[in-house]
């Protein structure tokens, strides 16, 4: 034993100076980073070291109740070891900053130590100097600086520290076959399990180990590799088992293959090989998100290029000197570059091909971030050899003055390890000047949390303004930018932000809708609070609402002030706490007879308070899920309401004309009866293969158009048989294109512009097909495009003044044959329309009808209609409102500078004159403004001299960045060489959802030709120089109008609505044992529903026990409640039952722990025997 300790001490003494330097670097950096004594936080991780005790209590459950209304986070299980360790530090009294400093310093030191030991062990050189350079390189390379530390992704910190360490231990195990190294391997695997929170890192850590094993006597080491891998699985099965059995369904909802491909392509374009080779991320170093200055300077760029150049020399030296044990690292280096650059050149296609075939590869859609760590890892082996080679070369060149060689090498190392990563040394590594990463959580949060906790009442907190995404900006003393931290800062479950899941987010969007409604309704608010089991409201006045497009806290405060059932309780700084009266509070679990059924698109989940506006409080409704609607159809007394599953907006004018359609298709050079036609087909095939994945549908449609054009020419020539073959070929290509478009649409990648381009292409095809009179191809086209939601299913009629153009079509999936009332959301008001919308022409399926309107609560009712089960469409033509600009001559027109009103009072003209120094403007507020609208601004303009008018629409939600106001409409209408005298300007304007007021402004500014004359951007930006080139401008404006388009949504509601939607609401005696387990007693007197106000998940199961007999309610009786929660229809015999509500994956976690313990012990026992035998062999 003593001998072993002595040997260990002598080894430590041998390596003492490099280890001391790593320690010194760590200490210097940590002192520099934490010199302010303030915590770092924000970004994707939030505040991981702020309160580890609380975090460790949250992550031990798969179901996160604290982020209400709840969601499963199986990947967070991996952080249990980390947070438990940090919780110990917090328990012994360490502050969050001290905990963070200790964590960062440990990781930083391990990063250097691990690489030093690995290089020393894995290479035969056994050189301390080279190992030291390798470790310095690994600690201080650009990738480590930007992608690991600056990005502030904590799993990456751990990966960077763990990878060299675990590879070193594995190599030691292979070489020594000692049990000690095997146990160390298992310990590291467990202690660093935090990294598996990023799924792809599970693969990454095995790549160096696998590569090394393959390169060095693979078959001899195979058994050890298998032993280690199986043991690794065994020690990680505690989280892997619940993760794999709960995760995939969630991922499928969040990412589709096409969405992943879109991300991959965009990131590959952003990180081409020139960037990947150096391990830098241009986005942060000299791109849009630059965090410190200097990296754009050419000297810094040259330093960054010295890394791949030295590595290149290293590779050359290794190959020439035949250092075979380094070949493995060259291979790993090439592999790392190849994968990290994604689809960028060279050789990008195989990556894309693999990606489009596998859903699991979606985890690598950002390959530079996920795989890139292998670049510095592999380079760390090659770089020192490059340095060594340069040193030898210089020494031989300047044999008399060897000092020159050392000076050169030292300078190079200083440039690369000190100058280039200067933000690491000077403590500028996190955050940026505009967005600091320093966080000081105000004391008010601690006091507010304590106050709510002391009240000791059940129910959730609603944080307002409600954040629809997951990120928030707070204007705390040091600021905060990152994921919404309320669920960490408050121990009561918090409804604070969205989940990224369409269904839940739409349901939560009702919160913002009720608070931004022009005429808020007390009952709607009560319904929303009931629906979410809200007890308290915390109003955050410290939120930067404009930056995140949120509702203004002042507007929310005004609404809250007027609500009779809410009491303002207490104020802590910028936090105001309100409490909801007991009589309006709804518990999380209760029974009720729920008669309302809402079906259709999930968009309906955000406006349900309006749909059920005429029902008494509280409103609850069920929605079939996973095709269990037949369970409902047996019940006759349900009230069905339907929202549209699709809305189609037809263009305001034809997209293609008969006269031009054929000419606008690709013109065939050779027809199919030509000898050269096969060459055309080869060319097309090559085009198709070489086209980027994102454009393939365009190429397919282009080729399809060519087939149509050929068919047309062949028909003219009388070759009908061949023409028909071409049309069949057309249909095949069209189907392929539709398939791609469909996948892209599912991934949310088809935006309005792309849709318009595709619709235009398809409109031309339709015209030519009609001309060719091919009915089957036309029918196929109609069905496919209707399925895509590009065109209506029913042909649009043009009776009673209806037009095919400018039509809004609502598609409904009717699930029950009953009579429905047609309702049009009456927002903002029917009075804005000519004649007050007393009648409106509708097309219902194939029939056109004039329907009269009745004004009901919040709706215009257009009578009733009997609809059968199946697909139906209701459409109307968009109607312009009256002009919403002020009356001519009214005081509401704001004129500044030199604007004169000329002409008669009925058609005035505004004459603008802009001098060399001043601007002129005309502005007015939009009357009866409503954010849920689309407006069109029209005007005529005549540019007489200089610069044309600038049309701006200013919203009170516009935000300022560096003194510049960002407006959604800010467009100049300038002169061109074609149109003179009067021209028309027209633009559509869709307000932001947090806007309450909008101003239309027409601006006149001086004309400036500085750039044209000087050609010097920098000089022209200097005010004194630029203004010298200002010239006067004159233009006139007339016929200004702002009109709202009637695009209000249509809903259907079954007419039997006399009875209440909810009856016999009963509290039940149930206790929450843990976030994923509830138990209690249930008294049933007859059929009813069990409502559980937690996010719907098919693995929430209810089991009932009566007279010793237990059973689980079948999944077909499990429905969505109010668009997000759980509802089970109960048709049990009357009596008292024991009830359990359980989230099943949590059980798997406990099973996983047991299995993991047994499997690890077993594998260790096997390992002991196996390694002993191996050593003896």
């Amino acid at each position: 034993m003593l001998k072993k300790v002595n040997s260990l001490l002598s080894k430590a003494r041998y390596h003492i100076w490099p280890l001391s330097i790593f320690l010194a670097i760590t200490v210097i950096m940590i002192l520099s980073w934490f010199r302010t004594g303030i915590l770092y936080g924000g970004g994707d991780v939030g505040l991981p070291t702020y309160n580890p005790i609380r975090l460790s209590s949250i992550v031990k459950d798969i179901w996160w109740d604290v982020h209400a209304p709840g969601f499963p986070y199986p990947s967070a299980l991996t952080s249990i070891p980390l947070y438990s360790t940090l919780a110990i530090l917090q328990t012994v009294g360490m502050s969050p900053v001290a905990i963070q400093a200790i964590l960062f310093s440990t990781l930083l030191f391990l990063t250097g130590l691990g690489m030093y030991l690995l290089f020393f062990e894995a290479t035969s050189s056994k050189s301390r100097v080279l190992s030291f350079i390798a470790a310095l390189f690994y600690m201080l390379n650009p990738y480590m600086e930007v992608q690991i530390w600056h990005r502030f992704v904590h799993t990456s910190f751990f990966l960077a520290a763990m990878m060299p360490l675990i590879t070193y231990v594995y190599i030691k195990l292979i070489k020594s076959k000692r049990l000690f190294w095997y146990l160390v391997f298992l310990f590291i695997s467990f202690a660093f399990s935090y990294i598996y929170g990023s799924l792809s890192f599970m693969v990454i850590i095995w790549i160096p180990i696998l590569t090394y094993s393959i390169w060095n006597n693979f078959f001899r080491n195979l058994k050890i590799l298998i032993l280690v891998f199986v043991s690794w699985l065994a020690i990680n099965i505690w989280w892997l088992y619940p993760f794999w059995t709960t995760g995939p369904t969630l991922f499928a909802q969040i990412h589709s293959i096409y969405a992943s491909i879109a991300t991959l392509l965009s990131l590959s374009n952003q990180n081409p090989i020139s960037v990947v080779l150096r391990g830098i991320n241009s986005f942060y170093t000299f791109g849009e998100n630059i965090w410190v200055g200097g990296y754009g300077h050419f000297l810094m760029q040259l330093i960054s290029w010295s890394i791949p150049l030295v590595t290149l020399i290293g590779i050359y030296s290794i190959i020439v000197s035949k250092k075979r044990h380094f070949y493995v690292w060259i291979f790993l280096f090439l592999l790392a570059i190849f994968v990290s650059k994604g689809t960028a050149a060279p050789f990008g296609h195989p990556f894309l091909l693999a990606f489009s075939k596998s859903f699991l590869l979606g985890a690598f859609r950002n390959p530079f971030e996920k795989f890139g760590i292998l670049i510095p890892f592999a380079s760390a082996f090659i770089f020192p050899i490059g340095i060594e080679k340069i040193c030898f070369f210089l020494k031989s060149k300047f044999s008399g003055k060897r000092i020159l060689a050392y000076v050169f090498i030292s300078t190079l190392l200083v440039l690369e390890f000190i100058i280039y990563p200067w933000p690491m040394w000077l403590g500028e590594i996190f955050g940026s000047k505009s967005q600091s990463a320093l966080v000081e959580v105000p004391e008010d949060y601690i006091r507010a949390n304590a106050w709510i906790k002391d009240e000791n009442k059940s129910g959730r907190i609603l944080h307002l303004p409600f954040v629809t995404g997951d990120a928030v900006t707070y204007s705390w003393e040091k600021g905060y930018n990152g994921i919404e931290p309320s669920s960490l800062l408050f121990s009561t479950p918090s409804v604070s932000n969205g989940f990224g899941l369409e269904q839940v987010d739409h349901s939560l969007a009702s919160i913002n809708i009720i608070f931004t409604s022009n005429s808020f309704d007390q009952k709607s608010l009560a319904n929303v609070f009931s629906n979410l089991n809200i007890r308290y409201i915390v109003l955050h006045k410290d939120i930067d609402w404009k930056a995140r497009v949120l509702v203004n806290p002042d507007a929310i405060e005004k609404v809250l002030f007027q609500i009779s059932f809410i009491q303002k309780k207490v104020t802590f700084g910028d936090l105001v706490i309100y409490e909801i009266d007991d009589s309006f509070f709804t518990p999380k679990v209760f029974t009720a007879e729920v008669y309302n059924v809402l079906t259709g698109g999930s968009i309906g989940f955000s406006i349900w308070p309006e749909i059920y506006e005429n029902e008494s409080w509280p409103v609850f409704f069920a929605t079939p899920v996973n095709d269990n609607q037949d369970e409902l159809s047996a019940q006759s007394n349900l009230n069905y309401s339907i929202t549209s599953t699709h809305t189609i907006l037809t263009p305001s004018s034809p997209l293609a004309y008969k006269e031009n359609a054929l000419a606008e298709l690709p013109r065939p050079r050779f027809l199919p009866d030509s000898l050269f036609y096969s060459l055309i087909l080869i060319k097309e095939q090559v085009q198709l293969v070489s086209s980027p994945a994102m454009n393939k549908h365009f190429v397919e449609l282009d080729h399809a158009g060519k087939r149509l054009s050929e068919a047309h020419r062949l028909t003219e020539k009388g070759n009908i048989k061949l023409a028909n073959r071409m049309i069949a070929n057309y249909s095949k290509r069209f189907d392929k294109a539709v398939e791609i478009i469909n996948q892209r649409q599912v991934g949310g990648l088809v935006d309005k512009t792309e849709k318009l381009i595709l619709k235009t292409m398809l409109a031309r095809h339709e015209i030519v097909l009609k001309d060719l009179n091919n009915l089957s191809a036309l029918e196929n086209m109609k069905i496919k495009l209707s399925d895509l939601g590009f065109v209506p299913f029913y042909e649009l009629k043009e009776d009673i003044g209806m037009s095919k153009y400018g039509r809004k079509v609502f598609r409904f999936d009717v699930q029950k044959d009953v009579e429905y009332e047609i309702l049009l959301k009456n927002s903002p008001s029917d009075s804005q329309y000519q004649g007050g919308l007393k009648t409106l022409v509708f097309q219902i399926d194939n029939e056109v009808k004039v329907l009269s309107a009745n004004l009901k609560m919040g709706f215009l009712s257009f009578g009733t209609i009997k609809l059968d089960k199946g697909l139906h469409e209701i459409s109307y033509n968009m109607v312009d409102s009256v002009n919403l600009s002020p009356e001519i001559g009214s005081q509401e027109w704001q004129l500044t500078g030199s604007v004169k009103q000329i002409g008669d009072a009925t058609q005035p003209v505004f004459d603008f004159h802009t001098s060399k120094t001043d601007s002129s403007s005309l502005s007015f507020n939009i009357k009866d403004f409503d954010k849920n609208s689309i407006y069109r601004v029209d005007f005529d303009y005549w540019i007489k001299k200089g610069r044309g008018p600038i049309l701006q629409v200013m919203q009170d939600s516009d935000w300022d960045v560096n003194g510049r106001r960002y407006m959604s409409i800010d467009k100049i209408y300038d002169k061109d060489n074609y149109s003179f005298y009067w021209n028309s300007g027209s633009i559509f304007f869709e307000p932001r959802l947090n806007t309450t007021e909008a101003v239309v402004k027409i601006n006149g500014e001086p004309w400036n030709n500085c750039l044209a004359i000087l050609g010097d951007k920098v000089a022209c930006k200097i005010k004194e120089i630029g203004e010298d080139y200002n010239r006067e401008s004159d233009f006139a404006i007339r016929n200004i109008s702002v009109k709202r388009l009637l695009v209000n949504d249509v809903f259907l509601r079954s007419i039997d609505i006399a009875k209440d939607g909810v009856r016999n609401r009963q509290k039940i005696d149930i206790n929450q044992i843990s976030p994923s387990y509830y138990e209690g007693r249930l008294l049933l007197n007859g059929p009813t529903s069990l409502v559980f106000l937690t996010t719907f998940h098919p693995e929430w199961k209810v089991s009932l026990t009566k007279d010793g007999v237990s059973y689980v309610l079948p999944e077909k009786r499990h429905f969505l409640a109010n668009g997000y929660g759980n509802l089970w229809y109960l048709n049990e015999d009357p009596g008292e039952y024991l009830i359990k509500i359980e989230f099943i994956p949590q059980k798997r976690f406990y099973k996983g722990i047991t299995f993991s313990a047994v499997a690890t012990i077993s594998s260790v026992v096997v390992g002991i025997f196996f390694l002993r035998k191996k050593r003896n062999d």
Binding site: L277, L312, F347, G348, H349
Partner: protein
């Protein structure tokens, strides 16, 4: 004579295959649609030269890669991003071809 012609045809077919293979590998390139083809041609020529003139020193090939890297850095300094990417990607592609060739040669 026929044997010679057959040998030439075989060589050309092989080169065409290599060219097509590189083109296939490159088709995911985003910046310039012509570049994948040109680059595939360059790599084919490179393989042809390495095969035909094995006496060319390894140093020369590494120097070529280095020149591509240096060109890329200069082009980047002058804000010619697309060209910088082309130079760097050709350099890296050349490096991959050289290394693969070295490994195959040893085998």
């Amino acid at each position: 004579m026929i044997k010679k012609i057959l040998k030439y045809i075989k060589s050309i077919a092989l080169l065409l295959f290599v060219f097509a293979f590189f083109w296939f590998l490159n088709s995911g390139f985003l910046t310039n649609p012509l570049w994948p083809v040109i680059q595939a041609g360059l790599f084919t020529v490179l393989i042809f030269i390495i095969y035909k003139y094995p006496k060319i020193k390894l140093f020369f090939w590494f120097l070529t890669v280095g020149i591509f890297y240096i060109s890329s850095s200069i082009l980047e300094i002058f804000q010619l991003r697309d060209m910088a990417v082309m130079a760097a990607s050709t350099g890296f592609g050349t490096l991959v071809v050289i290394i693969l060739f070295q490994i195959l040669k040893k085998d």
